[in-house]
C-alpha cells in the first residue's frame, strides 16, 4: 500500500500479516479474517485500510494508540494489537 508509514514494516509470519514499528505490533490472521471491515470502519485513529479484496492492512501504524477496539470487536479473533515493552 502506498500510504504506509515510513517506519512500518510488514511481513508474513505463521499465517499472519505482521505490521510493526518498534512500539506497536499489529497481527492480522490471513486464515481467520473474513474481511468484514469492522476493524477498519471503527478504528478511532484510522490506522487500517482495505486492500483491493477487502482484507485490512495497516497504513498508519504511528497513529495506533493501542486502544484495542479492533481486537475487541473482531468477530473472528483475527486481529491483535500489542504494545511492545519499552
Amino acid at each position: 500500500m502506498e500510504h504506509h508509514d515510513e517506519d512500518t514494516h510488514a511481513k508474513e509470519e505463521g499465517g499472519f500479516l505482521v505490521f510493526e514499528n518498534g512500539k506497536i505490533t499489529i497481527r492480522i490472521s490471513e486464515t481467520c479474517c473474513k474481511s468484514c471491515g469492522i476493524c477498519i470502519e471503527f478504528c478511532p485513529t484510522k490506522v487500517l485500510e482495505p486492500r483491493d479484496d477487502g482484507f485490512p492492512v495497516v497504513v498508519a501504524i504511528s497513529k495506533c494508540n493501542d486502544c484495542k477496539l479492533c481486537e475487541l470487536r473482531c468477530p473472528d479473533f483475527a486481529i491483535t494489537v500489542e504494545k511492545v515493552a519499552d
Binding site: 473474513k34 468484514c36 471491515g37 470502519e41 471503527f42 473472528d76
Partner: protein, 285 residues
Amino acid sequence: MPVAPVTKVVTGYLRPHKRFPSVWCAGCGVGIVMGAFLRAVNSLGIDRNKIVVVSGIGCTSRMPVYLDFCGLHTTHGRAIAFATGIKFAKPELTVVVIMGDGDAIAIGGNHFIHAARRNIDLTAIVVNNETYGMTGGQYSPTTPQGSSGSTARHGNIEPPFDICDLARASGATYVAREAVYNARRLETLIAGGIKKRGFSLIEAVSNCYTVYGRYNDFKSQIDMLRWQKEHAVPIQSWQKLPPEEKNSKFSTGVLFQKDAPEYVDEYDKLIERLGGKTGGAKSES
C-alpha cells in the same frame, strides 16, 4: 504490568482442533459475543472444567462447538430445560445458556419464562438479531413492527417482545442489555450476570446483515453496527429522553436487579425441612 493481549485470552479457551474461520457470516455479532463471553469468564477466573455452556439450535447455538468447556448442544428451544437439569444435579457448576432470539423467546419461550420465575441460578445470554437467520430470515417474535422478513415481505404487523421486560416480569434477578458494538461493556455485563446468583439474562443486540439487513435496507454489516452506535443509549440517559425518542432508541446496561431466593437453595431447604439429606447430588460428586 503488561496487559494480556485480548485475543490470546480468547483463543486460549477455543478448542484447538476446531477449524477456523468460524461458520458465521462476515461481520456477524455472534463472534463478538463469543469474545465478550470468554473475556468475562477469564476475568472471573472460573475453572474451565466447572463451567457448562448449553445451547439449542440456530446460528448462535453453534457457539459451544468452539468452546473448550463442558458443553451441550441440544434441541431447538430446549437449552434452558437441559441447563435446569444440569444445575439441579450439579449445583456447584456455572451453567451458561447461549441462545438466539428465536430459540429463547419463541420455540423455548415457556422454558425461558419459567426458569426466570423459579429463579434458578443460570446465566442466559440471548443474542438478538431480530430474525431467524439460519433458516432464511423469517420474522421472529423480536422483529420490530414494520420491519421486513422473508415471511413478512410487506412489513411485519406484529409488535415485538422486549426480551428484558419479559425476563423482568417473569422473575429474573439480573437483567441487562448491550449492543455488540459496545463489546467491552457487553463483557462486563456478562461477567455481572455470571456472578449474580439466580436467573440472569443478558440480551446482546446483534446484527444479521445476511438476511435481516438485506430485507431492511442496511447497506452492510458495518451499517448495522453504525445503527447500534446511534441507537444504544445507557439506561441513565435513556430514562431522561422524551417519550418519542425512547421508542426509537434502546436502553443498555443493567436494567434491573433484585435479590430473591434461588430455586436449588429452596429445594435443599425443603429436603432439610422433611428430614432428608440435602445436596444429594453435591455430596456424590
